[in-house]
């Protein structure tokens, strides 16, 4: 793999230690890295170098993370992963709704960060939608609307299927409550989280091997859901 094949990652964080750490980690894992200390510099670098992925800290001194995201999204489709503190659910949700692809909570685990990076990159480069999603022994055939678990067909209601399809199409990525509710139940239902809780419980009951410890549809507390598909 020559240098230009390696994906370019832009890190926007005002903390030198985090920048250094991320740079070392990412370079060790075959990424090219650029670093910016402020939102302003980040936007300039992004415009100049067109990175494949941006790691964006939400607590920047000049702009809020959401503001950087908004400006970036005006012209760029690069994948964005935001870094947030643990108890800032609102910041995470706002960033995701503003177009971020995923988030990682500080203090983060390197493995987890790298996994998120891979998923986000794959999603942003992949163009055509997959017809069949595999996750453990669940198979969702989006073309025929057939859902099987261990080969056995599972009957789903219309909403259950729509919900599963939405999650599966965005496998690996977190989808916020708001995004799901708007897509499945339509505008005006963004606050009806209880619909979602009930239907997710139904889906887990029907699809998970052990609904008590779900492995397919994971809850991101206070943020949304993440569907885990096989790579």
């Amino acid at each position: 793999m020559n240098a230009s094949d390696k994906p370019l990652v832009l890190i926007v964080d005002d903390e030198p230690q985090i920048r250094r750490l991320l740079t070392v980690t990412l370079e060790a894992n075959s990424y090219r890295v650029l670093a910016a200390v402020s939102g302003q510099e980040g936007l300039v670098l992004a415009a100049q170098h067109r990175p494949a992925l941006v790691i964006l800290d939400l607590g920047l001194p000049d702009f809020s993370g959401q503001e950087v995201l908004r400006r970036l999204r005006e012209w760029s489709q690069a994948a964005v992963i935001v870094l947030s503190v643990q108890d800032d659910d609102k910041g995470k949700v706002a960033a995701l709704d503003a177009g971020a692809d995923d988030y990682v909570t500080k203090p983060f685990n390197t493995d987890e960060l790298l996994a998120r990076l891979r998923v986000a990159l794959r999603r942003s480069t992949k163009t055509d939608a997959v017809a069949v999603v595999h996750a453990k022994n669940l198979v969702v055939d989006l073309a025929t609307r057939r859902v099987t678990v261990g080969g056995k067909e599972v009957k789903l209601s219309k909403i259950e299927y729509d919900l599963l399809r939405l999650l599966a199409r965005h496998a690996g990525k977190v989808i916020t409550h708001r995004q799901i509710l708007q897509e499945i139940w339509g505008p005006g239902h963004e606050k009806d989280t209880h619909y979602l809780r009930v239907y997710i419980a139904h889906l887990r009951e029907k699809l998970e091997a052990n609904p008590e410890t779900p492995e397919l549809i994971l809850t991101e507390l206070g943020v949304g859901y993440r569907f885990v598909a096989n790579d």
Binding site: T110, H194, E212, L221
Partner: protein
């Protein structure tokens, strides 16, 4: 939508405000019947049963089943507040225990017989006032009422049945109430009566046949039906007005009823209220105060009539005019009244034929565009005449003696003058004295002096002297003319003087109000403001004044201001506090706690009270309507100024708070950032080392230790930050629907390796519906309780975590099998930095105080105890919201 159809924003705002106060206030549901025995209590209990089955927190406050089996059976099993027992003059009475009900604070309370009169020395004379207090406390109330007890219908019922109704409820007590008519056809009711199914007090049994005639019952039934129908119409109208779809206030009518001290006025007021209700019109009650003196009894009756009108929702206006017709018409024009209601005298005595008909005729002639209703109104049969002269003489006796003395003196003077001038000239001396007297005394004494002087002149000076005989025609004419002139002159002078006095009083009142307003406006600070209020009110009403202000630091809601001129006793203080909380006047001359020494008036601006003004009058308590008006104006003015002052304070406070919150948040964010960044670095280095994959087993386990330490440190940082947020009141709540199992899993995940040496058993029902909570706070509660259990129990023991829905609460239990809690005060375990005597390393002593804070922030509670089988048990109770129904899905 055209301009005209658009809902008036003010009306909308009013509707919204009404809705808001309605939401804060409890809802009143009235089970209305035409008379006793239709099954109101039964219907109420049935409705309560349904609510109870839905899991509503309800309680029976007072129920009168009269020992009927079906009713008793229906009440069985519902929670009940024990009644308050009072012994009054050897009689055992039992009443609703209002304080217990308020303390218990259920969602819904059942209080039978709305119109009941409470035992003497209760907080309120009437039960409906108890109910209003419950509603104000935000408690919903179910109650029962017979149509005859409704103030505005009582008279109609009296006329139908011939039975006088004593216990009545003002219509205003039923504003915003929802009515359920309990209807029974008269024949069926009579059948029930015959079968002995209707309870009647023994003394009423004789009246039973008269009351329960089919004709009566039909009429009563019609009244009840019509009342309910009117209420429904009213609701619909309001609804329409809110939506702007109807044609509101089409009538545009404004009714005016003339109120006097006459006992017939009360029924006139009720009649007008009914008409106003039917027309959906606003109405005024006008009293025209004349310069004539009024007996105390009349004053009391007038006050009662005006109070009735106020209670029934009229706007009260008093004016001063010796000519009643002119006074009424002036107010009618000023207020744009479209209809005037006056009473028709019941008896046409000769004098009233002249006076009464002329008043009516003039009113009708001069009213122009305004319609005039002349209503036959019957009053209670009050013997007015025999009482009055007695008072009349008693009051004025000394003045009459004085007048007689002066006239006597003048006679002596005339005896001297008689030697120099003729007896005709002496009449002028008398006349002079009479006119002079008229400047100082009332009309009665002037009449007396005119008569007396005429007689004395005749007796002593008109020949033949020392007889009352008059011989010549000329003398007779002189005597008659003297008598008439003295009378007319005297009366005219007295009348002018009375008008002057009235004028002066009006001016004094206007001046008093002006002075108050000016001084209030000029007061530079609150202390000065309070001093002005106390001084001005005291001076204007000749009373000791105490001003009580809300006091958040004390246990009592209000405390008297130190500069008050009346030191409130504990009892009066309680009355003042009650007036403040209920935003109703209390004390002497009111319906609330009338046995108190003083009058306590809340200063109400908008919907909240800003203080209480208490007055103890120097003289015997009697405020004339004009004085009462002035006092009301004072109160309004003072309340307004206080409210302005409060708003100014609140604004400063809010600015300060916002600034401090901004600083606090900034500091917290910066500290959080500074502490967490190095932690993030350490954690990612540890995981990065492992990911590089060139470590041996020992090195790998060291990086895991590093991970665990970071995790613990991170939890501590978080707890400290949370604690300072909690302390500073910056906790941001974010309640939403969650799957409880998600929360529990997340908490367990969060604890990571800390729980690895314990066996954790999770027990949540499979079909637990979504719960509405703050996810972060609840997760932190669980993390801290579980972390606590892990630290304080030996490795290898079991930790049990369970969740249950109990009633309308979510109960989370964390139980361990460790040594349990050390003896001591369980509540102290939730204090900050409180650690066990043999505290194990790993606890900081803030975890439990955080758990408590987080539970309470969500409206919940926490308790700790030792289990019988050993180990500690922590129980967290959080309010559970009922899951709203989901839209039906077509398969």
């Amino acid at each position: 939508m055209t301009e005209r159809d658009r809902p008036n924003p003010d009306a909308l705002l009013a509707a919204i405000q009404r809705d808001e106060t309605r939401q804060q206030r409890g809802k009143l549901k009235v089970f209305l019947g035409m008379c006793a025995g239709v099954g109101k209590t039964f219907a109420m209990l049935e409705a309560a049963r349904r609510e109870f089955a839905d899991g509503r927190d309800l309680i029976i406050g007072y129920l009168e089943t009269h020992g009927r089996k079906e009713t008793d059976a229906l009440a069985a099993g519902l929670p009940t507040i024990p009644r308050r027992h009072i012994e009054y003059r050897g009689i055992q009475l039992s009443e609703l225990d209002l304080d217990a009900a308020l303390a218990r604070k259920p969602k819904l309370i059942l209080v039978d017989e709305f119109a009941h009169s409470n035992a003497p020395e209760s907080r309120h004379p009437k039960r409906y006032q108890d109910v209003l207090e419950l509603l104000n406390a935000g408690i919903d109330v179910f109650t029962t009422l017979n149509i005859q007890h409704l103030e505005s219908r009582a008279e109609a019922v009296s006329q139908i049945t011939g039975v006088t109704i004593h216990e009545t409820v003002p219509d205003t007590a039923l504003t915003d109430a929802e009515f359920e008519l309990v209807d029974l056809p008269p024949d069926e009711l009579r059948a029930r009566l015959a079968a002995g199914k209707v309870y009647l007090p023994e003394r009423a049994a004789t009246a039973q046949d008269r009351f329960f005639r089919v004709g009566n019952l039909s009429a009563l039934r019609e009244l009840a039906l019509r009342f309910t129908a009117e209420h429904v119409v009213q609701d619909v109208l309001e609804e329409r007005r809110a939506q702007g779809t109807g044609t509101p206030w089409k009538s545009g009518q404004r009714l005016l009823v003339a109120v006097s001290a006459s006992p017939t006025s009360a029924s006139l007021v009720r009649w007008t209220r009914r008409l106003a209700g039917e027309l959906h019109a606003a109405w005024l009650a006008v009293y025209v105060e004349s310069t004539r003196a009024m007996s105390e009894e009349d004053q009391a009756r007038l006050a009662k009539n005006l109070a009735l009108a106020r209670e029934l929702g009229a706007e009260i206006i008093t004016t001063t005019d010796d000519d009643v017709v002119r006074g009424i018409l002036r107010i009618a024009r000023e207020q744009n009244a479209t209809q005037i209601v006056v009473g028709k005298p019941a008896v046409w005595r000769v004098i009233e034929l002249f006076r009464g008909s002329s008043v009516l005729n003039r009113l009708i002639r001069e009213s122009g565009q305004i319609d005039v209703h002349v209503v036959r109104a019957e009053g209670e049969k009050v013997a007015r005449q025999p009482v009055r002269p007695e008072n009349f003489w008693k009051i004025d006796f000394r003045i009459y003696a004085l007048v007689a003395g002066i006239i006597g003196g003048v006679t002596g003077l005339n005896a001297v003058l008689d030697q120099f001038v003729g007896f005709y000239a002496l009449a002028l001396t008398y006349l002079f004295a009479v006119v002079l007297l008229a400047l100082f005394v009332g009309r009665g004494p002037v009449f007396f002096s005119a008569t007396l002087s005429a007689l004395l002149w005749n007796f002593f000076f008109l020949p033949p002297r020392f007889t009352f005989f008059i011989t010549s025609f000329q003398d007779g004419m002189m005597f008659a003319m003297y008598f008439v002139v003295a009378l007319v002159l005297g009366q005219l002078t007295a009348r002018i003087r009375a008008q002057q006095t009235a004028e002066r009083q009006r001016e004094q009142r206007a001046t008093a109000l002006y002075l108050l307003t000016r001084d209030l406006a000029e007061s530079p600070d609150l202390a000065q403001l309070l001093a002005v209020v106390i001084q001005q009110v005291g001076k204007s009403f000749r009373a000791d004044v105490a001003l009580s202000l809300p006091d958040e630091s004390e246990s009592a809601p209000v405390t008297a201001y130190f500069a008050s001129t009346w030191a409130l006793s504990d009892k009066e203080q309680t009355v003042a506090a009650w007036a403040f909380q209920q935003r109703q006047s209390a004390g002497r001359g009111t319906d609330n706690l009338p046995a108190s020494e003083g009058l306590h008036l809340p200063l109400v601006a908008g919907t909240r009270a800003t203080g209480v003004l208490s007055l103890r009058f120097h003289d015997e308590f009697s405020l004339s309507p004009a004085q009462r008006d002035l006092l009301d104006a004072f109160i309004r003015q003072i309340a307004l100024v206080f409210d302005r002052e409060r708003l100014r304070d609140a604004e400063t406070q809010a600015k300060f708070l916002a600034e401090s919150e901004r600083m606090g948040t900034m500091l917290l964010n910066s500290v959080s950032h500074e502490l967490r960044t190095p932690l993030a670095a350490i954690s990612s280095v540890a995981s990065g080392l492992r990911a590089a994959g060139e470590l041996n087993a020992a090195q790998k386990s060291l990086t895991l230790e590093l991970d665990e330490a970071t995790r613990r440190l991170n939890r501590l940082v978080r707890n400290l930050l949370d604690l300072s947020r909690l302390e500073a009141g910056h906790l941001r709540m974010n309640t939403d629907w969650h799957d409880l199992r998600d929360l529990l899993r997340s908490a367990l995940q969060n604890l990571g390796q800390s729980l690895s040496r314990h066996e954790v058993k999770m027990d949540v029902p499979n079909d637990f519906p979504p719960v509405k909570l703050d996810a972060i706070l609840t997760e932190q509660i669980l993390v801290n309780l579980l972390g606590n259990a892990a630290v304080h129990t030996p490795p290898g023991t079991k930790i049990e975590l369970s969740a249950r829905a109990e009633g309308n609460q979510l109960v989370l239990r964390v139980a361990d099998n460790g040594p349990g809690l050390p003896p001591g005060d369980a509540a102290r375990w939730f204090d900050r930095f409180q650690r066990g005597p043999d505290a194990v390393a790993g606890g900081t002593g803030i975890g439990l105080s955080l758990v408590k804070g987080f539970a309470e922030a969500q409206g919940g509670s926490i308790s700790a105890e030792n289990r019988a089988a050993g180990g500690a048990l922590f129980t967290v109770k959080l309010p559970l919201t009922k899951l709203p129904p989901l839209p039906e899905e077509k398969e």
